[in-house]
């Protein structure tokens, strides 16, 4: 045997687990049981009527047609489907740009799984909840320090609900001033997350979009023209998904304030700014952080999550109830904002997404102030390192501020590649999976042609980043040499290229197994 050549970084031998696992209903074997359920004590069962108390119309006549499957088969089914899922634990997470998919420390998960967390009922007497209340109170203070805000709520259960929370604060503020009808417009940008427009619209606001200027900043002239006595607030991320930091942000927040509006900061992109600059210092009145992104609590396939909303003191009275306080001896809930008719009331049942907050607390405590600063610096270093390497490629470009630094991510364009090869960003996305890599294009609509959005965070090593870059290069080269290859990619994934032609057709779509059986028997 000779020495095996392992010099190439590109995983040309990759194949995702593929089990051809049936849909769970197909596993049903009549008579099998997945678990035995405890019965009521015989003496109880004999002394009560049980389900017989139900009036006839409420007695379920036909059992739900759930599958009957033994426990090992249920386990095997889900274990196989787990293997068919490209979680961050098994992957170099660079390709899900804007999502800040970083390492989620296992110790934090284990702590959140302790019975003193899991088995807590949210309505327990406060004296029995002092541990989790202390954690939530302190995390609130940490968020204030990181953002410059005065108080946070952990009720919003995702970034988009965080945006709804901010829009609700804006609404409350103007309702209290008797201006809710007049102040009915929110200005945002086309590069902001779609929820920056969609969630405020739910609160009844009309949405005004700003397009970028030549530097990628929100166009200030258009902004000036848009701000008026109807402006309730400006909702914006900085940097936006382009990774371009709007240097003139203070000019924007100042003008809004001069016109009596509020400024709301979408800090989904905060990972590159921890300890570097703060929302309040840039003139924002409120902001939100994604604890499942910047603060490492895992994404969980899309939640449970927390879009913690913070605000300046003058907005605190509108925050959802209750607020968590400390009297020097014990932690307690203050329900005062519940009685403020102009306040939000509630965004979520109970007191916030506690286990997510606990994980964020543990993460902050594992890094300290200096460590958080290092997170931001390394995330930005990783991104600019990658940016430089990718911009050296003929087929890659990125709009705006040429030669200048990006923050923690970048939206590139593969327009040249597309023009020269006919291979577009969607093709690259599919092909990257053949090497075990995530890859993301952009939110819709695509304002940057053939977009590619990458965000390395602080988690990958230089080796990992180099592997991602080498894989991209390999795929780009392939586009020039063998564009046909992309037509049927991916080849090494769980599934082949999808036929999504039925997805918009009511006659053909099937959101559940029972619909599938009904339509395609």
């Amino acid at each position: 045997m000779k020495k095996i050549d392992r010099s190439s970084k590109v995983r040309t031998g990759f194949h995702q687990a593929k089990w051809d696992e049936p849909v769970i209903f197909e596993l049903s074997q009549p008579g099998e049981r997945g678990i035995l359920v405890n019965k009521a004590d015989k003496r109880i069962a004999e002394s009560v009527e049980g389900t017989k108390v139900l009036p006839d119309f409420l007695q379920r006549k036909t059992a739900p047609a759930l599958p009957e499957i033994s426990q090992p088969r249920v386990l095997r089914h889900y274990a196989r489907l787990a293997q068919e899922t490209l979680g961050a634990d098994v992957n170099i997470e660079i390709g899900q740009g804007t999502c800040t998919v970083k390492y989620s420390p296992k110790v934090n998960d284990q702590l959140a799984n302790l019975p003193q967390m899991r088995e807590m009922h949210p309505l327990q007497d406060e004296s029995t909840c002092q541990g989790i209340m202390e954690i939530m109170y302190k995390t609130n203070k940490y968020m204030c320090e990181i953002s410059g805000m005065d108080c946070f709520t952990f009720q919003p259960s995702g970034g988009s609900q965080g945006i709804l929370g901010m829009a609700s604060l804006v609404y409350s503020y103007f309702k209290d001033r008797g201006e809710a009808d007049q102040r009915n417009e929110i200005i945002t940008t086309i590069y902001s997350h779609p929820s920056d427009a969609a969630a405020p619209h739910v609160k009844g606001f009309k949405i005004i979009y700003l397009h970028p200027d030549k530097d990628g900043y929100p166009d200030y002239e258009a902004f000036k023209a848009a701000v008026n006595e109807h402006t309730a607030a400006f909702f914006v991320a900085n940097p936006e998904d382009t990774g371009v930091y709007n240097k003139n942000v203070l000019k924007f927040t100042k003008l809004i304030h001069e016109m009596g509006g509020l400024c709301a900061y979408d800090q989904a992109n905060a990972n590159g700014l921890l300890g570097v600059t703060r929302a309040r210092d840039a003139g924002f009145d409120m902001c939100f952080f994604n604890l499942h992104k910047t603060f490492s609590t895992p994404h969980g396939c899309g939640g449970p999550a927390c879009g913690a909303v913070g605000c300046a003191d003058f907005l605190e009275k509108y925050l959802p109830s209750p607020l968590l306080k400390f009297d020097g001896e014990k932690y307690y809930y203050d329900y005062e904002t519940a009685s403020n008719p102009n306040a939000i009331g509630k965004i979520r049942e109970f007191n916030g997404v506690a286990p997510v907050v606990l994980k964020a607390y543990a993460w902050i405590r594992s890094l300290g102030p200096n460590g958080l600063y290092q997170v931001a610096k390394t995330a930005v270093l990783n991104n600019n390192y990658m940016f430089k390497k990718l911009m050296e490629l003929h087929c890659v470009d990125a709009p705006y501020i040429p030669g200048k630094q990006r923050i923690e991510q970048c939206r590139y364009t593969l327009e040249t590649l597309y023009k020269e090869t006919g291979v577009g960003t969607a093709d690259i996305q599919r092909r990257m999976m053949d090497f075990g890599m995530h890859y993301w294009t952009s939110h819709h609509p695509y304002y940057v042609p053939e977009p590619m959005t990458l965000e390395p965070t602080e988690t990958p090593s230089k080796e990992d980043i180099d592997e991602y870059i080498d894989t991209l290069k390999y795929v780009f080269d392939e586009a020039y040499n063998d564009p046909e290859k992309f037509k049927n990619a991916p080849y090494q994934s769980v599934c082949h290229q999808l036929d999504e032609s039925n997805m918009d057709d009511p006659e053909q779509w099937a959101v559940t197994w029972r619909c599938y059986l009904k339509k395609f028997q």
Binding site: V37, L54, F57, Y78, L86, E145, K404, E458, C495, W513
Partner: protein, 464 residues
């Protein structure tokens, strides 16, 4: 520079000083301080954040957090009779095994090619829930019951093209508050009185409030106070006769033994899947669902992701993808889409799917029977205590309202005494439902043994 106190931090590989220097050199910089050159100096934070220093090791962090959590006294250490929207049920070990798998725990927003398992498990969640609620379309889960109810109401109002909404006065005040925040100012929410004797909806008040501006009549089964809504059919009929949509909130764990709301006229069903294999998590285990029939009139009103089954270029291969994606705010329409979508509670959806697949039809039926038997036994024993009675005589599922008005003690006083005996008494209703005076809502499920219930009865007997 590296992290103070560490040569490098285990979560930040490139904090190794030599690597950091090499990468800086690569981009033409000397120091990490030269990064962020685009951030104007006037808003650069000039000091270190005032946060506690990092723990020196994972062990120290663990000891610290464990120490904090020891200040909690959980339902595992005490006998718990609290429900009110968050329920203590048995969580099969397999549920925690699956939702603890790193691949599910750390996946996020990939396409089917990357996250096939995520798509399939959530399609299966939708499908299993559809069998349980006897509907045809269920969403990838939303935040919680309150959010599900809010969205179901908005969906119903769009279908009806009317903005008036009627909700029961018996509903959870917190949920009502979420609904109001989410639906106003676009919709007008009005409460319908409850029948003082049964706790069910007052039909006369409902009929008085129904008119051609009402787009949605929302009610729950079981109602918040635990009882079944005996007027369900009449409410649905009245709503439909007035041209309104009927939206019904349901506790899914009831549905092994209780009729699905469609059988008495629900157009849209909503609820929380937390009872289905998810720990209470201090309220962090909530996860909402909505369900409708497979009619585009309803399907196109969902703001949520709906994962559907599709085929691939390979004959005989299933795959999964988004149905009618452009309805959602992730599509091209943004603010003109249906409400908004984003990160919600997918992992709890996967977990609820595991629970339903494990329980099967028999398990769901048995758990429903056990719960109802245990709860009835507890209610009877407790109402036999002197001066204690059941506030409503309506059949209930797992929660019931105990009337302590004649005991001369407040619920707060009673619960304080119970706590000394390591018992979490029922939810004090005297604040949210002041008309009821000193009443408490007790929750008894399959986790309670006869011994547990007898312990509660003995403790209350002693206290009163």
């Amino acid at each position: 520079m590296g992290v103070e106190g560490f040569k490098s931090h285990p979560y930040i590989p490139n904090s190794v000083p030599e690597v950091e220097q090499e990468m800086l050199r690569e981009i033409g910089l000397q120091s990490i301080e030269e990064l962020h050159e685009e951030v104007p100096n006037e808003i650069i934070l000039k000091k270190e954040m005032n946060l506690p220093e990092a723990f020196g090791s994972e062990y120290e962090l663990r000891r610290h957090v464990e120490g904090l959590l020891k200040k909690n006294s959980s339902c595992a250490d005490n006998l718990n009779f609290l429900g009110a929207g968050c329920y203590q049920h048995y969580v099969p070990a397999i549920c925690d095994e699956i939702n603890g798998k790193g691949e599910f725990l750390t996946a996020y927003g990939g396409e089917s090619y990357n996250d096939f398992g995520r798509f399939q498990t959530l399609f299966e969640f939708e499908s299993l829930m559809a069998e349980l609620v006897d509907m045809e379309v269920v969403n990838v889960p939303t935040m919680d019951y309150s959010q599900a109810a809010s969205t179901a109401i908005r969906m119903g109002s769009r279908v009806a093209k009317r903005t008036g909404v009627l909700v029961p006065a018996s509903m959870d005040r917190e949920k009502l508050s979420v609904i109001k925040n989410y639906c106003m100012p676009d919709l007008q929410i009005q409460e319908v009185a409850l029948d003082a004797k049964t706790g069910c909806m007052d039909l006369a008040d409902l009929k008085a409030k129904l008119n051609d501006s009402i787009g949605v009549v929302y009610f729950e089964n079981p109602i918040y106070l635990g009882m079944f809504e005996l007027n369900a059919q009449e409410i649905a009929d009245a709503a439909h006769a007035a041209g309104a949509q009927c939206v019904v909130g349901v506790d899914p764990i009831t549905l092994g033994v209780v009729s699905a709301p469609r059988s008495y006229g629900a157009d849209i069903v909503c609820g929380d899947v937390q009872p289905l294999g998810i720990h209470m998590n201090y309220g962090g285990g909530q996860s909402g669902f909505m369900a409708t029939m497979d009619d585009p009139k309803y399907v196109l009103e969902f703001p949520s992701r709906l994962f559907g089954i599709c085929c691939t270029k390979e004959p005989g291969e299933y795959a999964f993808a988004d149905v009618a994606y452009d309805r959602t705010s992730f599509g091209h329409l943004r603010d003109q889409a249906k409400e908004y979508v984003g990160t919600q509670t997918a992992l709890w959806g996967i977990t609820a799917g595991v629970y339903l697949a494990t329980m099967g039809p028999k398990g769901m039926q048995e758990v429903g029977e056990t719960i109802m038997q245990n709860a009835q036994y507890a209610a009877r024993k407790l109402s036999e205590l002197e001066n204690v009675s059941l506030r409503f005589d309506t059949p209930f599922f797992e929660e019931f309202v105990l009337d302590f008005n004649k005991t001369g003690k407040t619920v707060a006083e009673i619960n304080k005494e119970l706590l000394k005996r390591h018992i979490f008494g029922g939810k004090d209703l005297s604040h949210d439902f002041a008309d009821l005076g000193q009443c408490a809502m007790y929750c008894v499920t399959e986790v309670h043994t006869k011994g547990d219930i007898d312990t509660l009865v003995a403790a209350l007997s002693e206290i009163l």
